[in-house]
């Protein structure tokens, strides 16, 4: 009955995609809790668009995709963070502007370069065929670093996320932790972007956190639940994609959406019972 599982893992490209995807899902879910609570989830969306533009340029120039894209997106993350810190309303509009401009640059560059044209949809909506062995190694190393930093600074991330004024007042360098979160988010988005697609990657940040918040009332539980939901969604999504030949990124997002609906339903039922 589970022969398909065995068969799925026998494809190298699928194993690679699963490995990288799992670590990206985990990192995205952890960072997502903080980003959603700080109302910074727009940044994730903006960064994926910038990532698309940078990736397109890297492809056309023949540069190493990750090595080129990661620094560009990290810089964009720092700029977007400043924008949303200084002025909430204009910050939103500015993120939208930068995001769509980067998207336009990406599409233009890709269509001007001969031969790459056919691949636009795989950049936008993801492809599991793109990962080289070096990519996998780099992804695992960076993804691992994101996870370790998150665990090390978990307590401070909570303090800053919950109440920035208090955190600053008691000597915590809130700006530093915001920068850390933005940087880790940028790295995570780039790592997951080609797999999930530039249009879909930010869902990995938003969905698990919101899903977990339907049912969990402590930060630790929300964080752990988001991580588990994200991992499970990714695995189910990839399996569906393999079995039904649906696009991988979209399948993962749909499973995430189903989890959100299920958790919302349970929350509704629970309040009705009480």
């Amino acid at each position: 009955m589970f022969d398909w599982l065995h068969e799925m893992f026998s494809y190298t490209f699928i194993s690679r995609a699963l490995l990288v995807g799992m670590i990206v899902s985990l990192a995205a879910a952890l960072l997502g809790v903080s980003l959603v609570l700080k109302r910074y989830s727009m940044i994730g969306d903006g960064l994926s668009h910038v990532g698309f533009g940078a990736l397109a340029i890297a492809m056309v120039l023949g540069a190493a995709p990750l090595a080129f894209t990661i620094p560009v997106v990290v810089i964009a993350a720092l700029i977007l963070l400043r924008l949303s810190e200084t002025s909430k309303i204009k910050g939103d509009a500015a993120i939208g502007m930068i995001a769509t401009a980067a998207l336009a640059i990406g599409v233009t560059v890709l269509s001007l370069a001969k031969g790459v044209n056919a691949d636009i949809s795989s950049y936008l909506f993801g492809s599991i065929l793109v990962m080289s062995r070096d990519d996998v190694t780099l992804s695992l190393a960076l993804g691992g670093a994101v996870l370790i930093l998150f665990v090390l600074f978990y307590r401070r991330i909570f303090t800053v996320t919950f109440d920035e004024a208090f955190a600053r007042a008691t000597g915590l360098k809130a700006g530093l932790y915001n920068t850390l979160i933005a940087t880790l988010t940028a790295v995570t988005i780039v790592l997951g972007m080609r797999l999930m697609g530039a249009m879909l990657i930010s869902s990995l940040i938003i969905f698990p956190a919101l899903t977990a918040m339907r049912l969990c009332k402590s930060f630790l539980r929300v964080t752990l639940t988001a991580a588990i939901v994200s991992l499970v969604s990714f695995f189910i999504g990839m399996s569906i994609s393999y079995l039904l030949s649906t696009p991988a990124g979209a399948s993962v997002v749909l499973v995430n959406a189903l989890f959100f609906l299920a958790f919302s339903l349970i929350a509704k039922l629970r309040t009705r019972v009480q």
Partner: protein, 233 residues
């Protein structure tokens, strides 16, 4: 040497001075109450003491071995965090300062002691957001106490609470002040209560209008006016 010494401090936003000429001292064990109408610069002064806002003139000095990150702070309520998932224990423990990344056993014990002191231990595993206003303020007070053993800054801690709950909170603050010897700087709307508990009153309206003992304050023009007497401002 005072715990905190403010000399001729002034504060501005975008070049516009909102508060100036502030001079006062806070000694160990003092209880200073800052009163004044909305927009008179009370919160700004408190943020200045915490270095969240820089003074454009004058100086703010710490003494008696007090360091900047040893000041407990209870911010003015902001309701943007209404749906934040956090347990009472998580919130209280987030007040613990220190260089280490994880909490030690002693840290957890300290948080537990503060929860016992403020009588919130029975619901330490409940969601912070689901508590009543009075319970929530006690949780934030416990968090502030985790951060300090010397000086507490409270920005309108009883705003929005009903009178009975507010009185209980004032009693707790008094207990902290007297039993632990922690100095208090509190912003309050309620002059009568301020006069009842505080050792010193500072009345602000863009600049100090009064600075002195509570009983003197109630005899001044501004004191009577602010306490609900007849006056024309």
């Amino acid at each position: 040497m005072a715990l905190l010494s403010v000399k001729d401090a002034a504060f501005a936003y975008d070049g516009l001075v909102v508060l100036s000429g502030v001079t006062f001292d806070v000694n160990p064990g003092d209880y200073l109450c800052i009163v004044g109408e909305n927009g008179s610069g009370k919160s700004t002064l408190m943020k200045g003491l915490l270095r969240l806002v820089k003074p454009v003139r004058g100086s703010i000095r710490l003494g008696e071995g007090l360091s900047q990150d040893e000041i407990g702070y209870l911010p003015q309520q902001n309701l943007t965090q209404r749906d934040f998932p956090a347990s009472v224990k998580e919130v209280v423990e987030s007040g613990i300062r220190g260089k280490q990344l994880f909490l030690s056993h002693a840290d957890r014990q300290r948080a537990q002691d503060m929860m016992d002191l403020l009588e919130i231990s029975p619901f330490k595993h409940r969601s912070f957001m689901e508590l009543s206003g009075g319970q929530r303020q006690r949780v934030l007070l416990a968090r502030a106490l985790c951060a300090t053993g010397k000086l507490l800054l409270l920005d309108e801690p009883t705003a929005g609470l009903d009178p009975v709950v507010a009185r209980d909170l004032y009693k707790l603050i008094e207990k902290i002040n007297q039993e632990q010897g922690i100095a208090i700087i509190m912003i309050s709307h309620d002059v009568h209560t301020a006069a009842l508990y505080a050792s010193t009153i500072l009345h602000l309206r863009q600049t100090p209008l009064f600075y002195g003992k509570p009983d003197e304050y109630l005899n001044t023009y501004h004191g009577q006016c602010f306490a609900g007497g007849v006056c024309d401002v």
